[in-house]
């Protein structure tokens, strides 16, 4: 991995932000349609409405995303570790995973809503159902990728299973788990948007769709920008964590 100094990284983020704004502005000048307002009008709108109208929706969305990913990690990582370490568990569970992974979970949304109601539970379950597979498979493969010699030298020390998990399996696969979490994050945001268009009056998905229905394009774009910024911040947090945890690589 090439280590870019952190101020250079911020410079990169700034340049890409400027580029997006320039392109957006150019498009809005060219088309002169109300459906593509100028980025500056949107930014000014965000300043006006953020604390009054958007904050609550952002908090709801953030809570669902973080809750969904946290629960997926809490359930998926131990399962993946067990499958990676014990061949029997893998033999039993892998076919089940491979069989259910390709099922289009979005199609299950009505059933989930019937079973778990229209509230928070069905939204969390939806995110978990889609994201957990990547996490299970990545953590299983991370454990499988640990060289045999490392286990051998620990067993010759008489290490117990708990010690092997603590000293080897968890530290060896942390970085891969974070990579899986990053992939999961992107997926989770897009599922979230979909689930928030049903059965709720809170969340960025609701806010954006509601603005669209009201033909309030400034609000709609404000919602999209805030949703992107939220994703950007979450990705950055994972990057920082990853750099800290996998400094040995």
């Amino acid at each position: 991995m090439i280590n870019v100094p952190s101020d250079k990284k911020w410079q990169g983020a700034l340049y890409s932000l400027v580029l997006v704004i320039l392109l957006w502005q150019a498009l809005s000048w060219l088309l002169k349609l109300p459906i593509i307002p100028s980025p500056f009008a949107v930014i000014i709108n965000i300043i006006y409405i953020f604390s009054a109208k958007m904050q609550i929706h952002l908090l709801y969305s953030l809570g669902r995303i973080m809750g969904g990913i946290a629960l997926s990690i809490l359930l998926g990582v131990p399962l993946g570790f067990l499958m990676g370490y014990f061949h029997k568990a893998d033999k039993l569970l892998s076919p089940l995973i491979y069989f259910t992974y390709p099922v289009p979970k979005i199609a299950l949304l009505p059933i989930i809503m019937l079973l778990f109601g229209l509230g928070e539970a069905s939204k969390l379950i939806m995110i978990i159902l889609i994201v957990i597979f990547q996490i299970i498979i990545t953590s299983r493969d991370a454990v499988r990728g640990i060289p045999e010699e490392i286990f051998r030298s620990l067993r010759s020390l008489g290490a117990s299973r708990v010690q092997i998990f603590r000293e080897v399996i968890i530290p060896a696969s942390m970085a891969d788990v974070l990579t899986a979490a990053r992939l999961a994050l992107g997926t989770a945001v897009s599922i979230l948007f979909f689930t928030e268009t049903f059965g709720t009056q809170y969340g960025m998905g609701y806010f954006i769709m509601d603005a669209w229905m009201r033909v309030n394009y400034l609000d709609m774009y404000a919602g999209i920008v805030i949703l992107s910024l939220m994703g950007f911040c979450l990705f950055t947090v994972i990057d920082v964590l990853e750099r800290h945890i996998s400094s040995w690589r």
Partner: protein, 252 residues
């Protein structure tokens, strides 16, 4: 004291059975260092796996001080060719690992620090294995094994991945520390030179399936400036002849 009696190891793969070690009988005296030499694939490493308690599928008896080998009860130091360090732990944490697992010790005591100093690795304790040369990594692995104060030290071609200069340097360093501690040691090598340099007795293996051809008393062991002596070259010649003869038998 290690007693190995009628040890037979077979590998089962599908329906085939391969004999790896055939009827091994040998005792390693307490505080002695035995080197095991033989052609590759003769089962030397398999013997170490049995001694380290990793391989349990064998017939015969293998005992240490009258007890069956069990890494949970005995202290076994294992040093492998590719070092076996944990890449996510720095030098200090790697050196600590043995006593951490055995004694739940969280920091190195004076003896541990003394060994680190002896191995010349006390100046880069916070580096990770990928930032070290092969020789430095092996120093860490040796330090880890000695800090454990093992009842039995097992070494599986520990120096064969190193360049000639660091190899001889580490052989000397190892021998010096070993003489201070006198740990019972089984040392597997494929180098005649190394077997003679480090072993008080040299166990010569046949090609597969592994049998003990001969146990040679090393009269050169503990001599100073060994590599400059005639006796050393004479022993070298004898050992090579022994290995060569077996090789020809195997071809026929």
């Amino acid at each position: 004291m290690i007693e190995i009696k009628d040890l037979v190891v077979k590998y089962r793969r599908k329906n085939e059975e391969t004999l790896v070690l055939d009827n091994i009988n040998i005792n390693i005296g307490a505080g002695d260092i035995y080197t095991f030499i033989g052609p590759s694939g003769c089962g030397k490493s398999t013997l170490l796996h049995v001694l380290s308690g990793i391989l349990k599928d064998y017939t015969g008896t293998v005992k240490m001080d009258g007890h069956v080998i069990d890494p949970k009860l005995q202290r076994i130091g294992l040093i492998l060719q590719n070092y076996g360090l944990l890449p996510w732990k720095n030098v200090y944490q790697n050196a600590l690992l043995g006593v951490k697992i055995k004694n739940d010790q969280q920091v190195l005591d004076d003896y541990g620090r003394y060994i680190l100093q002896q191995m010349g690795i006390d100046s880069f304790l916070d580096r990770y294995p990928k930032e070290l040369s092969g020789g430095q990594q092996q120093r860490v692995a040796i330090a880890r094994a000695f800090i454990l104060k093992p009842d039995l030290l097992l070494m599986d071609e520990p120096f064969s991945a190193l360049d000639a200069i660091s190899r001889e340097e580490l052989q000397d360093l190892f021998l010096r520390i070993w003489k201070d501690n006198n740990v019972t040691t089984a040392f597997v090598t494929h180098s005649v030179d190394e077997a003679l340099y480090l072993g008080s007795k040299i166990v010569v293996f046949s090609s597969a399936p592994g049998r003990i051809l001969q146990v040679v008393d090393n009269s050169c062991f503990r001599m100073d400036n060994l590599r400059f002596r005639d006796e050393y070259y004479e022993m070298c010649m004898n050992l090579r002849k022994l290995l060569d003869k077996d090789d020809q038998c195997a071809v026929r």
